[in-house]
Symmetry: C2
Subunit: 231 residues, 2 copies
Amino acid sequence: MKFGLLLFPNLTQLDLTGPLEVFSRMNGVETALIWKTLDPVSSDRGMRILPTHTFEEAGKLDLVCVPGGPGQIELMSDQETLDYLRGVARDCKWVTSVCTGSLVLGAAGLLDGYRATSHWSSIDQLALFGADPVFERVVRDRNRITGAGVTSGIDFALNIAADLFGDDAARAIQLQIEYDPKPPFKDGSPRSADPGLVAEIRGDIAPFIDRRRRASEAAAKVLRSRDTPAS
Amino acid sequence: MKFGLLLFPNLTQLDLTGPLEVFSRMNGVETALIWKTLDPVSSDRGMRILPTHTFEEAGKLDLVCVPGGPGQIELMSDQETLDYLRGVARDCKWVTSVCTGSLVLGAAGLLDGYRATSHWSSIDQLALFGADPVFERVVRDRNRITGAGVTSGIDFALNIAADLFGDDAARAIQLQIEYDPKPPFKDGSPRSADPGLVAEIRGDIAPFIDRRRRASEAAAKVLRSRDTPAS
């Protein structure tokens, strides 16, 4: 089986590297990091990673995964990337995302009528693409599997391991990567975090989230125009 | 402040990318991925990452972090790397590791007399270097902070965030990265996992762990010979 992860500029690297660590421990799974060229791609915080395949080289995939991060905003208006995702998704057994990667799937028209999740700060924007936002860590609807923010990619990938290879295989990977988390605080979700902290962070990121929303709205408009045949 | 992570061939990438995601969200912290050259470094499962600084370029660090992974075996007899770690550690406020990176710190003589942890499969090997193995997710002894296997690097880094910048700063990062883990199984630690699974995995990896042990024994011998002045 071949699992492809989209490696795009200004992604949040842990959205990709978390699932990649799990995927690459599945027996019989080949992983591909896919982008337009094979030049190094820089994450939002400057980590540079090398793609393994271009869009042309990657071929058919069993699973495609779109991570998130600020670069996702540009992707939502990048028709080359959206066309690639639409095309590759057609033959995929699983069409997946982590964090705000789900908004890219949405912009490609791949979540219309599906339940899905995203980073807590932006999950409501999924509705712009006809998706039904579900505030859970991992959401599956038919062959769409979406993970919540950043670190959810590890839970997301272990769930996929269990689906595809059975619980025992997933448990073996969980033990290998010693995934026995001990978060130092209870503030990992707005549902459990101190409300004052949530309000403060929401305030800090408001201008960025607004920029994302305008991009989502524009992408949704482009998507609707595609659905309306020219008269 | 400057935090340096050792980026070496055949590392387990999540040992590095987990903490890096947290470190790079700390205000006023610059991160460096440090290796002998600036050529791409391949992880144990083929992800290629670009170093940002050579040993010569990296300069003084406030924190050094050694991740783990199979390439750690070769590092334990790599005197250039061990010399680099000994040198840079002298001026560091914090000397740290994730997973079997602690065995590299041990081979550099940096854990003698310290409590420390490592991946569950290899934690006992710390004793070869005069360290006191402690089976906890994150272990601190004076300025040494060590994390357990792979995914522990996220907990490890959030603990460091709290130490250096206060609980509120660490909680803000935990919320940003939505670290509200929901492991699908209880098998992330040999203490909670099904004993049959643990026995099976121990059997599967026994030849590899033996190879690591022989390398640790050899490295401990070299270290003792350094401590004995030539007569």
